[in-house]
């Protein structure tokens, strides 16, 4: 790979992005526009998250990258390799070891700490986009806290389909002010955002926006008074590999047998569980 710059981007660009991050932290949930740089990775393939990671990473950091919960997916491996090749930092699949976790569409199962930063890749940062296509208009709507359209979408969903079918990327209200897209994480992960110990950074490279959820900020999933917020339900199901319950599970359909099995979506969590359980069993046997 060419170039000698640490973390790919030139220092000036990284400093500019860090300034945008500061602004984002200062105004939780507010989308800060930034001069998104071109990376050697396609726009829409995680360039927002990568720019955040590249701007904040230092030589002593330990990086974990996941895609839909998985450390091994092609895209996650690709991004990890990319950052590693320009920083030479240590990488891990253990979320407790990591200081920076970049993720697409999941928040790890293990609670995050104050000394960790969670970087989420965001395809569409604008929670109002579904009801208003124009950026100029949505900016004004945020300024005036005009969120009726989002509530209307939820209400419409409810009366058309009998329940709220809106899946992942379910909007949250941050600190009673801005409504924010949590990125396409499942609803199951929404509660991890509110009052968290760690800093959440959200990066949308194609849409040129950065926003943040600082530690201990509230992020309330929108819900009507008489219809509580509901997440995906895995009651009575457990991981077929590590036996974990109350975690987000991937459905695996065996076309040959017609069986439906479940597996931890968080592969790092599952792996660690199997290792420590195995070790515990071995100790017991000894």
């Amino acid at each position: 790979m060419s170039g000698n710059t640490f973390a790919y981007l030139d220092e000036g660009s990284k400093r500019e992005i860090r300034r945008s991050i500061f602004k984002a932290v200062a105004i939780p949930g507010y989308q800060v526009p930034f001069g998104s740089r071109e990376l050697p990775i396609g726009r829409g393939w995680g360039t927002g998250g990568i720019q955040l990671t590249l701007s904040i990473i230092g030589r002593s950091d330990v990086l974990k990258v996941i895609d839909q919960g998985s450390d091994e997916s092609v895209n996650a491996v690709n991004i990890k390799e990319f950052v590693k090749s320009f920083t030479d930092v240590q990488t891990t699949s253990d979320s407790e070891m990591a200081t920076i976790i970049q993720s697409r569409h999941r928040v790890p199962e293990t609670p995050l700490r104050n000394d960790q930063i969670m970087v989420l890749q965001v395809p569409g940062p604008e929670p109002l986009r579904g009801i208003e296509a124009s950026e100029e208009a949505t900016k004004v709507m945020h300024a005036e806290a005009d969120y009726v359209g989002i509530w209307l979408e939820l209400y419409e969903d409810l009366i058309r389909h009998g329940s709220i079918t809106a899946p992942c990327n379910y909007p949250v209200e941050v600190q009673g002010r801005y409504i924010m897209s949590p990125s396409p994480i499942p609803k199951y992960d929404n509660h991890k955002l509110s009052g968290s110990d760690c800093l959440y950074l959200f990066g949308a490279g194609r849409e040129k926006k950065i926003y943040a959820l600082p530690p201990y900020c509230t992020a309330v999933s929108l819900a009507f008074e008489d219809i509580p917020f509901q997440t995906e339900d895995f009651r009575g199901k457990s991981c077929c590999l590590c036996g974990a319950e109350s975690v987000y599970l991937d459905e695996i359909y065996d076309a040959a047998t017609g069986d439906l099995r479940y597996q931890c979506s968080d592969t790092g969590f599952c792996k660690k569980r199997r290792e420590t359980c195995g070790a515990a069993e071995r100790r017991l046997e000894a």
């Binding site: 005036e144 419409e156 009366i159 058309r160 009507f224």
Partner: protein, 280 residues
């Protein structure tokens, strides 16, 4: 009606002008139509003042371009004004000029204290959403977050507007023009506004459909004795049927006003005379 009551809406010297104006037209000089011959400034509204009382329907008539729709649009904050003020009794006791309120407050006024019904239902409805959803939008804007209440209230309003229950979950896109208009009215009524702005709401509808919509407006008047309506129409029979009082607009100014019967039976201004004659 007594005139000792407090008006629900008071407009003072409302002016919309396109152009810089010059000493001649600013000083009240003669305009050609509504355009100043000296500086080309167009005066869409020139010093319009009026009051509307609770329970009253004020008819506004005039030819196209006379400023009647512009008046409603400016009141609904859809057209910036050049000068003047307006006060709504329900909003801060009628003490605060609504044109100087900030945008957030103006949105609150639009959602809660005032409502507009447009000639074209596309303007007042979101066609991507169901009829229930359209009414819900207003209720949500007023801060309601209880879906049972919202659905009950929206169904009730659509029921009053004679929209069949079976079609309430449908988008008004599929409805006839008359039915779309009734959904729009139901939406306008959602938060019991004290002022309803009705802009040519029966124009373009069949006669029988028109009659039904007008009947419903009457019904609203009797069921909501405190609501005031500004009824813009170029159709004098609509005005005769509904309006208590009527103002006549000509080239951006009010040229005549009075009880509807009086204005239509004994018009004073030459334009009103023309208008009434053309009806015959």
């Amino acid at each position: 009606m007594t005139f000792f009551e407090t008006p629900s809406l008071r407009i003072e010297r409302l002016t919309i002008r396109y152009g810089a104006g010059c000493p001649a037209c600013m000083g009240g000089g003669i305009l050609e139509k509504n355009r100043c011959a000296a500086c080309d400034t167009v005066w869409s509204l020139k010093g319009v003042s009026l009051e509307v009382y609770p329970g009253e329907i004020l008819g506004i008539v005039g030819e196209s371009g006379s400023g009647k729709s512009t008046l409603l649009q400016s009141l609904y904050f859809e057209r910036p004004i050049s000068a003047g003020s307006a006060y709504i009794h329900e909003y801060r006791g009628g003490e605060a000029d609504i044109f100087t309120a900030d945008r957030q407050q103006q949105r609150e006024i639009r959602n809660i204290h005032m409502a507009m019904v447009y000639q074209n239902p596309l303007m007042g409805l979101r066609m991507r959403f169901s009829s229930l959803g359209n009414i819900a939008e207003k209720l949500l804007a007023a801060g309601n977050r209880n879906t049972a209440f919202i659905t009950e209230r929206a169904s009730e309003l659509l029921g009053i507007m004679e929209v069949p229950v079976a079609r309430m979950k449908e988008s008004p896109r599929n409805f006839s023009g008359g039915m779309q208009q009734r959904v729009q009215i139901a939406k306008a009524l959602a938060n019991d506004p004290s002022i309803l702005l009705l802009d040519e709401i029966t124009t373009g509808l069949d006669m029988s459909v028109q009659a039904r919509v007008l009947d419903l407006i009457r019904k609203i008047k009797y069921q909501n004795p405190n609501v005031s309506m500004l009824l813009v129409s170029h159709d004098l029979s609509v005005i005769r049927m509904l309006a208590d009082r009527t103002i006549v607009m000509f080239d951006g100014q009010i040229v005549e006003s009075g009880m509807t019967d009086q204005v239509l039976e004994d018009p004073q201004h030459h334009f009103t005379q023309q208008l009434v004659q053309s009806m015959l």
